[in-house]
Symmetry: C2
């Protein structure tokens, strides 16, 4: 065991909660900032690297996350509650220590998974009754339970427990759901503040972020945002997008909502997206992103380059000695050829998955770094124009 310190390095008192984010620069609606967590600062805009079950799919370890420029690891409340159990992780010293990642961690609330994975779901005012997707066991989760689990995990950013409504949805249903999600948020805040004050809190500096809902109904989005802003939380997410609407509808909704989001708090667009989506949404004032897509695409051999997306399984790469992308500095591109990587896919070697996920996540982290550099230089518009047509294109 090494002696890295996995305990939170700073425990801001609650009066400092709204000082966590510093907005350093703006270009149009695009924002360059820094957000302070109990495990260090996060330079924004940022893409969070998804390790659903406390591990990154494709065989990447916490050490690998460091090598690929990850700033924030994102784990999943629902999955970790089901397996291995959040109390086990608390007993092992919390998620940072369990997975040996000493940087910032965000945990989602479990809401999205309950609404996408679990079966026999019943939503009540108190919370949601459902069956585990692993063993069918009956589980109840409400705001307090979600906060308890996230407090046990000890992440730096805990997400509010919300209902993520699929699109298309009835206006009336969404409106009622938003009201309940707002009531749930107040309970989340009350509960987490109680858990943070416990003597044996895993991470007393854990922050709660609210989640805006309202489907693609702009008035509901704005109304809900106003309600949850009153709770004065250190960050706000836009949830319930990229769940069935068109990309145009998603952008329109963000544009309508953005002026109503507090300018001094970070905005996190949950579950988005492609490089093009990210460029568009940074342009629309979003600071935090996460998505399983780069890792999943990688595992299918779809690899990002600065000229577009290649399918490494194509015959044309069989004797290609060049790296995936000669402009990429990732550990795979620095050493291995397309020819070898294609062979690994054809031979169904696990190393193919590892190499591809390393490359794609490095690409995403590096894209964000370039976005930040462009914002620093006041050149985001030209960076956007130079890349917006290219990066999602299959070549």
């Amino acid at each position: 065991m090494n002696d890295t310190d996995f305990s939170p390095s700073a425990t801001p008192c609650s009066s400092l909660e709204n000082k966590r984010f510093s907005l350093m620069k703006k270009e149009g609606s695009a924002r360059r900032g820094v957000y302070m967590t109990a495990h260090g600062p996060v330079q924004t805009p940022v893409f969070m690297n998804v390790g659903t079950q406390a591990a990154i799919k494709g065989g990447l370890s916490a050490e690998d996350l460091g090598c690929i420029g990850c700033q924030v690891e994102l784990s999943n409340t629902y999955h970790l509650h089901v397996r291995p159990g959040d109390t086990l992780i608390r007993d092992m010293g919390g998620l940072h220590r369990f997975m040996r990642w000493d940087g910032p961690i965000l945990t989602d609330s479990g809401g999205f998974q309950i609404f996408s994975l679990a079966s026999l779901r019943r939503i009540k005012e108190e919370g949601v009754y459902f069956n585990s997707h692993v063993d069918g066991r009956h589980i109840f989760m409400g705001p307090e339970e979600s906060m308890r689990i996230q407090a046990n995990l000890g992440s730096d950013i805990a997400m509010a427990f919300d209902e993520c409504v699929g699109i298309p949805a009835e206006y009336k249903y969404v409106s009622a759901s938003c009201d309940r999600t707002a009531r749930w948020l107040a309970r989340c805040k009350e509960a987490l503040s109680r858990y943070n004050a416990e003597d044996d809190a895993v991470n007393p500096g854990q922050a709660l972020w609210g989640i805006n809902q309202g489907a693609t109904f702009h008035d509901l989005r704005i109304e809900h945002m106003k309600k949850i802003e009153e709770l004065d939380l250190p960050g706000y997410a836009i949830g319930g997008l990229a769940v069935g609407e068109t990309t145009g509808e998603m952008y329109d909704t963000i544009e309508a909502l953005e002026p109503h989001m507090p300018a001094d708090r970070p905005r996190y667009l949950m579950g988005v997206g492609t490089p093009e989506n990210i460029l568009e949404c940074v342009h629309r004032g979003v600071d935090f992103f996460d998505c399983v897509m780069p890792a999943r695409n990688g595992r299918h051999g779809h690899l990002y380059t600065w000229n577009g997306v290649i399918n490494i399984k194509n015959e044309k790469y069989a004797r290609d000695e060049s790296p995936i992308d000669s402009a990429c500095g990732c550990p795979v591109c620095r050493k291995y050829s397309r020819s070898y990587l294609r062979h690994l896919f054809k031979a169904e070697e696990i190393l193919a998955l590892r190499f591809s996920v390393i490359h794609n996540l490095y690409f995403y982290n590096s894209l964000m770094e370039k976005i930040r550099a462009a914002l620093d230089a006041g050149e985001y518009e030209s960076f956007y124009k130079a890349n917006i047509e290219k990066l999602d294109k299959r070549i």
Copy 2:
């Protein structure tokens, strides 16, 4: 691309072939030596790490091999001929450059896989006709074809093309098979020497090792050994063991054969074995080993420790904060806990496989290092006694 030189560093002329091995020390029949390849020296006794398809199962790269103390990587002639094709690998600069491993590589001849994997096999004097296990395609492989493929791969040690007879086997069949394998060996030697002399040879310093056969018939083993020794090759393997006989029969056969093997050439026991097997066979004068077992056991959660084999999936490790083996210096034991590794297995994360294979191969390489150190110190007997009962034991 880094600028590591993957070309062979030394090209001994053929008159030096039999000077490749230096026997430095003996303790009983156990031997401490060093074998020189075109990609550097190999300290013996040694365990070769198996990367069948030019990659180590479990998502390990050539860089990882360096980190776990691998001296010799072993790849498979038959598999690489079928996919991606040995001519492709030749065109990519040979196997070293293809997989970015600049240390010694041994390739087996394909014989074992033809006899264990391929279907519709017909053995003739000229070679073997069979169907590919991947796509059913008709393939012919004889001594010249096997040498051509291995020359294209450019390994440092090419193994003779032989018939690996399963046990139990008829005396008469084995005797005739041994005669044919000896005739094949002469053809292998002639062919490889021709390929090595080609102007564009991938690895002109590639050495041919003979393979002794004869099932568990001691007289056939000895007779065959005498025949193949006449070809004055730089190394000799014991093939056709660990294919159905008891461990006792295997040890007896080695003991009967060993005095008839040339003392100034390395001996390689193919496909063996457990730590106990290795200790027993070093004791009986074997220098080279290889086996898929440590990697395969790792992928099933069976992990070697200096006190025996643990099954990491056991409930008792759920909250165990200690490393797999506190006496182990592998990259996994230096950082991660049993609790986390068990979770990775239960959650079916690929990282579980990677961590386990890293640990088990490191353990094997480290076992060999300790064996060499014990031989250097003249203390092999006490090392053997201290470990022979422990290492294979399930605890």
